[in-house]
């Protein structure tokens, strides 16, 4: 865990609205675990005020500019342009100064070596699953079920294939792969074999549907969640999610940045979204 004042190495559009950025990141090959994230400062001056959280897509080394120097360590992030911060990011070039705080949070647990692993990714939610696949592929059969709205949302699937991951693509409009939801494919797979571990990251409705399917099949599930974050280190308590057993009388809130962003499904409260845990203290902060 460190804050690096560093630079952008490259930044390319890989699909309409999706960019892949490589950032100089000393020590990340040793430190970063699949599922962890960084708090990214898009420029050294303000605005925007807050850092943006991004999952680590992969880590690596590239040759230094001259032979006498050690190779450069980098991380790659993949981001979708959605607002003010990511708009600034899409304009960054080689050498632009940025800051990385991380690697942060708890990553994925790898599960039993020989059992099959199913990764479920929705759109940009695919990002943290790549490093996970890299780590697991030598010991387990790994399948990726990748869903998106249209073909533009299906990113980096060929890279998973190159690792040896068996991939299934579905899009809601049928513009690539099967037409339909990725969760329908998951249901089919678990009916064939439920002796697997499932790892999911994507939009909340997808994650909720995956959880329903996995709990019906008694299949262990780990999910990676998103939350609004200010600090990323457990100090502001802005990023909480409801923990298992959360009730209005006995509320349980877990920090996504510290306890997560990867959770075992059993750690979390699912279903009843009554949001009833309003504090008795509505005014004070």
């Amino acid at each position: 865990m460190k804050n690096h004042k560093t630079i952008v190495l490259s930044n390319q559009e890989i699909s309409p609205g999706y960019y892949r950025m490589r950032i100089l990141a000393p020590d990340y090959n040793k430190l970063a675990r699949p599922g962890q994230f960084v708090m990214f400062r898009v420029q050294r001056s303000l605005p925007p005020l807050l850092r943006r959280p991004f999952g680590i897509f992969r880590v690596g080394f590239m040759p230094a500019d001259c032979d006498t120097m050690p190779p450069k360590e980098f991380i790659e992030i993949i981001y979708k342009v959605v607002g003010s911060g990511t708009e600034i990011m899409q304009g960054l070039h080689y050498g632009d100064p940025v800051e990385l705080l991380g690697p942060l949070g708890q990553g994925f647990e790898f599960g039993e070596a020989d059992e099959e692993k199913i990764l479920v990714g929705g759109g940009i939610g695919l990002v943290p699953l790549y490093m996970l696949a890299e780590k697991m592929i030598d010991h387990s059969k790994v399948r990726l079920l990748m869903g998106g709205r249209t073909r533009d949302d299906i990113i980096t699937v060929t890279e998973f294939e190159r690792l040896g991951v068996e991939t299934y693509v579905s899009t809601e409009d049928g513009s690539l792969g099967e037409a339909g939801l990725v969760t329908q494919v998951l249901e089919k797979k678990l009916q064939e074999n439920n002796q697997v571990s499932v790892y999911a990251c994507g939009p909340m409705p997808m994650i909720e549907a995956v959880e329903k399917i996995c709990s019906a099949h008694r299949t262990p599930l780990q999910v990676s969640l998103e939350a609004l974050m200010a600090c990323g280190v457990g100090a502001c308590l802005g990023c909480v999610v409801k923990g298992a057993g959360h009730t209005q009388e006995q509320p349980s809130y877990l920090c996504t940045c510290k306890v997560g962003p990867v959770f075992h499904a059993r750690q979390l409260a699912w279903g009843s979204d009554d949001d009833a845990a309003a504090s008795d203290c509505g005014v004070c902060r």
Binding site: M1, K2, N3, R41, L46, P47, P48, L49, L50, R51, E99, L101, A227, L228, M229, A230, C231, G232, V233, G234, A235, C236, L237, G238, C239, V240, V241, P251, S252, Y253, D275, A277, A278, S279, D280, C281, G282, V283, C284, R285
Partner: protein
């Protein structure tokens, strides 16, 4: 030949607040620095003037629903709902970590009744590692229709008096800016026995998502912090310094030494840094370096010469 280095006299940064000698005037603002341990990997806690904890209550508090935060222009809104582990867990599990450092620990606390305030203060008073108490009075008084203690001079007077009886440690009362005349509330706290004042807490604000037409915070309204509030905070500190004779700690939107200096020049004896910690975990270290550089460049050997040096 022996090279002689030109001797640089480092400026004196230490300040004295209510009998506490602080090595410098920079400390975190409550609720933005956790219980210290969250930022220890990034920052030497022994370099700070003091450590200020997240606000504690008598019993653990779960806090508000989400979303609890949202970014605004040069600031952020929060409605965390004062989630905290409670005073007993703090003493047992968080205090030992803080006691490793040679930095005064200021514990922020609150209550929803006068008795709750008094009970927390009494427990903290018994803990030797706690150097001072900071009392957050921006909380609704549930026994009096939820009116925020800090907006009612009578309520301030009464609750501060009761807490004063429970502690002999330095008592800092943290003022809310959401009042018509801050000089009145400041004076009420001073007269009731506060040893120092800190201000400002967050300004109440609101933001709406125009597409969904919903408030951006689950709690609808929240507290605004960050650079956006700084000019208001400087003005309020200036007014309070005029009205009281106890030391004042300035808070609000400080991100750089230049910002901290504004507060010191209007008369704050120290400053707290809040939201800036989220933006840059090294913010306070940078501010301290820059403060020293500023003093060297301006030929100031003692930061106390700057405090209250406003020319009008």
């Amino acid at each position: 030949m022996i090279k002689r280095r030109k001797k640089i006299i480092r400026p004196r940064l230490s300040v004295n607040i209510a009998g506490m000698e602080l090595r410098n005037p920079v400390m975190p603002a409550s609720g933005t620095f956790g219980y210290g341990e969250e930022y220890a990997p990034y920052l030497d806690l022994n370099s700070l003037g003091a450590i200020v904890t997240k606000g504690l209550s008598l019993h653990p508090k779960a806090g508000n629903r989400t979303p609890r935060i949202c970014e605004t222009v040069s600031g952020m809104l929060n409605a965390i709902g004062l989630q905290n582990v409670g005073v007993d867990v703090f003493i047992k599990h968080k205090m030992p970590f803080l006691e490793q450092f040679d930095t005064p620990v200021i514990v922020n606390f609150f209550g929803n009744t006068q008795d709750e305030y008094a009970a927390v203060a009494e427990r903290l008073d018994a803990i030797s590692g706690v150097r001072a108490l900071e009392m957050n009075i921006s909380c609704p008084n549930v026994k009096h229709g939820g009116i925020v203690f800090g907006t009612d001079p009578k309520a301030i007077s009464s609750v501060v008096r009761q807490v004063r009886k429970k502690t002999s440690k330095p008592l800092i009362v943290k003022l809310t800016p959401n009042v018509t005349d801050i000089q009145v509330t400041a004076k009420a706290a001073e007269d009731a026995g506060a040893d120092a004042l800190s201000l400002i807490n967050t300004l109440t604000g609101m933001s709406v998502d125009v597409k969904t037409r919903r408030p951006r915070l689950a709690n609808t309204i929240g507290g605004l912090s960050g650079p956006a509030i700084r000019p208001i905070a400087v003005r309020l500190v200036h007014q309070v310094v005029q009205a009281v004779s106890i030391p004042v700690i300035g808070i609000g939107g400080i991100t750089r030494a230049m910002d901290a200096l504004e507060f010191l020049i209007v008369g704050a004896k120290a400053v707290q840094v809040g939201t800036a910690n989220f933006v840059d975990p090294h913010a306070m270290a940078t501010i301290l370096n820059e403060l020293e550089d500023f003093c060297l460049a301006e030929g100031i050997d003692d930061i106390n010469d700057l405090i209250g040096s406003l020319e009008v």
